[in-house]
């Protein structure tokens, strides 16, 4: 029997993401006491932030505001794939850990501590100029 990963599924904007459940200290909300504590991230902004994923980063708690938490799902290790090398090399964020195949859909698995450590700065891609003069 293969090992499995426990994933927490959440919605942020129009998309569903997954994260290792062990990285989430608790789920805040529905009425966040201090929504201003939410950290902006490379994933973009929630439409209607009703929940917060509280994560420990360097000994402090940081919160990713999300639209909703969809639940937990255990997936076998074999259903997890790392980010393709080329994608990893060109993305400005290191927080996209890979993909979990959920009902045959490749769902992005987010490294929440890295995401919240980076903040929104990682969403600003470096040059996207056409590399015709490289």
């Amino acid at each position: 029997m293969s090992d499995s990963i426990q994933l927490l599924l959440f919605q942020l904007g129009a998309r569903v993401f997954a994260a290792r459940a062990e990285n989430v200290r608790r789920i805040a909300g529905p009425s966040l006491e201090r929504p201003e504590d939410g950290v902006e991230s490379a994933l973009g902004d929630p439409w209607d932030p009703r929940r917060g994923l509280v994560v420990e980063v360097a000994g402090e708690e940081r919160t990713l505001l999300v639209d909703g938490v969809l639940g937990l799902k255990a997936v076998p290790d074999s259903d997890f794939q790392a980010l393709p090398a080329f994608a990893r090399d060109v993305l400005p964020t290191a927080a996209l850990a890979g993909f979990a195949m959920l009902d045959e859909v490749a769902t992005l698995v987010i490294d929440l501590p890295t995401l919240l450590r980076e903040g929104k700065g990682a969403a600003l891609a470096p040059s996207e100029e056409t590399p015709r003069h490289a």
Partner: protein, 169 residues
């Protein structure tokens, strides 16, 4: 010049090597259309042509990387050749095909406005790249045929340049 395949899901280009005995005389390219322009790259880079499956978009990705898709259990990054060369994105609707290429050290799925497929070109028809071409820095050669010139691009160099431009500092 013989065109082996145009617009179909396509054979495995890697299995369609040069005819024995003609290797020294001919070159096999893989042709694509970007807008009105015709482009090609070396056919041995292409391992297969497939229909693009559902795309998973990546947050914060550069515009030439519209997402990834799953092919036979492997997750492949999709590279928009038109966005890279012409800054005009390919429309990724149903039925769009992708050429899976191995541009050392990466494996990527290249999309274009249209796949022309394998082009069999006598070596004597391959000309030097003209000065002043829009994609001159990645141009290896030009091949004229009945429909006009085909710009032959150095795909591995283009992919490496895209990676270098976008890599986080």
């Amino acid at each position: 010049m013989a065109r082996q395949e145009r617009g179909s899901a396509g054979p495995d280009p890697a299995s369609k090597g040069p005819v024995p005995g003609a290797a020294e005389l001919d070159i096999w390219y893989f042709g694509v259309r970007l807008g009105e322009g015709r482009y090609a790259f070396l056919a041995p880079l292409v391992t297969e042509v497939v229909r693009l499956g559902p795309l998973t978009r990546l947050p914060a990705a550069p515009t030439f990387l519209p997402g990834v898709f799953t092919h036979r259990g492997e997750i492949l990054p999709v590279l928009d050749l038109s966005e890279l060369l012409l800054r005009r994105a390919v429309s990724l609707g149903p039925g769009v095909r992708a050429a899976i290429v191995h541009a050392e050290p990466w494996r990527v799925a290249v999309v274009a406005d249209e796949m022309e497929g394998l082009l069999h070109v006598p070596r004597r028809r391959v000309g030097p790249p003209p000065a002043g071409h829009a994609v001159r820095d990645f141009l290896q050669a030009v091949v004229p045929d009945d429909l006009g010139d085909i710009a032959v691009i150095d795909l591995p160099r283009l992919v490496a340049a895209a990676r270098a431009r976008s890599a986080p500092a």
